[in-house]
């Protein structure tokens, strides 16, 4: 925000990327964008409001399956409403928000780490529902995701489109949709954080009692932050589903929820840019390790004996989470903006916040 020209320059290479790189990078990039949107949302809750959630994989699932259900057609054993794709996407985000709002009696009253465990319930109850609601989710094998269509323009491989000699398939088209959504998500989050709601959220995190004394409705702020972050997760779920082209219930489990926590911690709690950086780190790491496993020591090719790329990636970012907490409390964002860890107020231990 403070350096608009520089920020704009950073976005430019992203715009021309589809003309130069292959499918692998485009898909990886789209996963990063989806994860970044989800991570920004989780960071609004955890980083800025101090409410830990381990249940955001559930809201990703609500977004993804909401979209699939609203946009998909009824065929075979799965049902769908067959709505236009953009309407379905908006409804899916609204549905995620509704699900987050429905959890607000708990999200508003339960603080910090209590909420982390309480929101574990969302993961397990969610998985239960996903596996049993076969007509919506397709059960264990999942179901195909209908492509996005905006004003008759389909974001898939169906029609042929060549721009400047480069064939534009589904991934290339989705790329720009992803960038637009990510940009909007970032700007909105910055807007929220920079204005009154953001100040209220930070005060609720740092000094709950002072917040209440100043007339900030602590419970409402917590519940609203939870709802907003679940809508972000829903949007991330929609983009994820569009990129995967198939939604499988098993994906939206505990591990995914932990991944998102890792993203925001590595990126830096409370920072929008940090969430994006963390999302890129956690999402790209396993894919890069898998792609270059042949050239790397210690990492075996997928399927072979030894440490698989997925496991190696988990070692690395698990260790990164610990290292960031111990040595770099402001995360990657602090590293990039050159702030010293010790200067941040939240780096000091605060007894008052933890429930006695």
């Amino acid at each position: 925000m403070s350096r608009p020209p520089l920020t704009a320059l950073l976005w430019l290479p992203l715009l021309i990327l589809p003309f130069y790189v292959d499918m692998f990078w485009l898909q990886a990039g789209l996963f990063v964008m989806a994860a970044a949107i989800g991570a920004i949302g989780l960071n609004l809750l955890t980083g800025s409001t101090g409410q830990l959630s381990m249940g955001h994989a559930f809201f990703l699932a609500v977004g993804a399956y909401g979209y699939v259900y609203f946009a998909g057609e009824t065929s075979g054993h799965v049902t769908g409403l067959g709505l236009p794709a953009p309407v379905a996407a908006v409804l899916a985000v609204a549905l995620s928000g509704l699900a987050g709002w429905a959890f607000s009696p708990i999200a508003g009253r339960v603080s910090g780490v209590y909420l982390a465990i309480a929101s574990l319930a969302l993961i397990f109850l969610g998985q239960h529902v996903l596996f049993n609601l076969e007509s919506v989710t397709g059960g264990y094998n999942g179901r195909a995701v209908p492509p996005m269509k905006l004003f008759g323009f389909a974001f898939d491989d169906s029609s042929e489109l060549i721009v400047a000699g480069v064939p534009f398939g589904g991934l290339e088209r989705l790329w720009y949709l992803g960038i637009a959504l990510l940009l909007a998500a970032m700007l909105f989050a910055r807007g929220v954080l920079g204005a009154r709601p953001g100040r209220a959220m930070n005060l609720v995190r740092d000094q709950r009692i002072a917040a209440a004394a100043l007339g900030v409705p602590v419970g409402k702020v917590r519940a609203k932050a939870f709802t907003l972050s679940s809508m972000y997760a829903g949007l991330a779920g929609v983009l994820l589903a569009l990129t995967f082209q198939r939604a499988v219930p098993d994906y939206f489990g505990m591990l995914l929820a932990l991944d998102y926590l890792a993203m925001i911690v590595i990126g830096g709690l409370g920072s929008v840019g940090g969430a994006v950086a963390g999302a890129a780190f956690v999402t790209l790491l396993p894919q890069l390790l898998a792609r270059y496993s042949g050239d790397l020591p210690l990492v075996a090719a997928p399927g072979a004996d030894g440490i698989s790329p997925a496991v190696a990636a988990r070692y690395l970012y698990g260790a990164a989470v610990v290292a960031v907490v111990l040595f770099l409390p402001t995360g990657l964002s602090g590293l990039l903006s050159g702030r010293l860890p010790g200067l941040r107020r939240s780096a000091t231990p605060m007894k008052e916040e933890s429930p006695q």
Partner: protein, 295 residues
């Protein structure tokens, strides 16, 4: 009727095991105000060490090593995370998530797709008492958990270790000024918690469960709702919460044919539903101290 009785006994026994895990969780929280998300992977570690060594050392020998390994790992985590970090306690809790990611990845990689036996002496033998059939492992679990919990509560109440632990939980700064070594108290809490989790691993994986596999840590996670619904800072709460979760799981699992409209595998998610229900009524858990603040 016998079915109900069987389910109740199994539920109490399962609940006692959850209570063991939840107790460790609560002890860590009371002593250090850190929520240890790596608790399930500590349990997995203890179980894995026991499973690997029981051929060479016998069951008890292997269990002793497993308990020691989990306790040492707990102590190591305390040393690495709490001695160094100046971060907020809830941020340290996130660091335990990182530890959990690494430990679980490594252990599930080693376990692979296999199912390991921990070599417990009870195997699948059962006892018949007046028409009620109970697995020996369930009785052993109940007795072991009762002895350990009793010993722990006695130590908590009467030994100087217990007194210092309670003093630190009450007011750590004053306790430190009174000459209580905070470092020792917090490290011992993490050791005890690791050891309890390793013992619980035996009974979580024993008959009728097939053995230790990659989903064991998910089963162990149910100790989290147990601890939360009892109240995170209450040892009584951990016991009651454990029993409640165990009974819920056993009863709902046992009668799930009658509840089939709610879907398959209901027994595994019912504990979480109970937790949500309790938290709706009492956000600080059944026995937890409510957040009261005076300004």
């Amino acid at each position: 009727m016998t079915r109900l009785l069987e389910l109740l006994i199994n539920g109490v026994s399962l609940g006692a095991v959850y209570a063991l895990i939840a107790l460790g969780f609560v002890v860590i929280f009371r002593a250090t105000e850190v929520v240890n998300f790596a608790h399930a992977s500590l349990l997995l570690l203890g179980g894995y060490v026991t499973a690997v060594l029981h051929d060479d050392l016998g069951f008890l020998g292997a269990l002793a090593v497993g308990v020691a390994a989990a306790a040492l790992c707990g102590a190591f985590l305390e040393f690495v995370l709490l001695r160094r970090a100046k971060a907020r306690r809830d941020v340290v809790a996130i660091a335990t998530v990182g530890i959990d990611i690494v430990l679980t990845a490594e252990l599930t990689r080693r376990i692979g797709t296999g199912v390991l036996s921990l070599g417990d002496p009870w195997h699948n033998s059962v006892v018949h008492i007046g028409g009620v059939t109970i697995a020996q492992t369930r009785i052993a679990a109940l007795l072991t958990a009762a002895v350990l919990i009793g010993a722990f509560l006695a130590a908590f109440k009467y030994t100087s270790w217990g007194v210092s632990m309670r003093a630190v939980a009450e007011d750590s700064e004053t306790a430190a000024l009174m000459g209580i070594r905070l470092g020792r108290v917090s490290m011992s809490a993490w050791c005890v918690a690791g050891a309890l989790a390793a013992v619980a691993a035996v009974f979580i994986t024993a008959f009728p469960t097939p053995g230790l596999d990659r989903t064991t840590s998910v089963a162990a996670l149910k100790a989290f709702p147990a601890a939360i619904l009892g109240g995170l800072d209450s040892t009584t709460g951990a016991l009651v919460g454990g029993l409640l979760i165990g009974l819920t799981e056993s009863l709902v699992g046992g009668y799930q044919d009658d509840l089939s409209f709610l879907g398959r595998g209901l027994g595994d998610v019912a504990p979480y539903a109970v937790m949500v229900a309790v938290l709706l009524l009492r956000p600080a858990g059944l026995f937890g101290t409510r957040e009261v603040s005076r300004v």
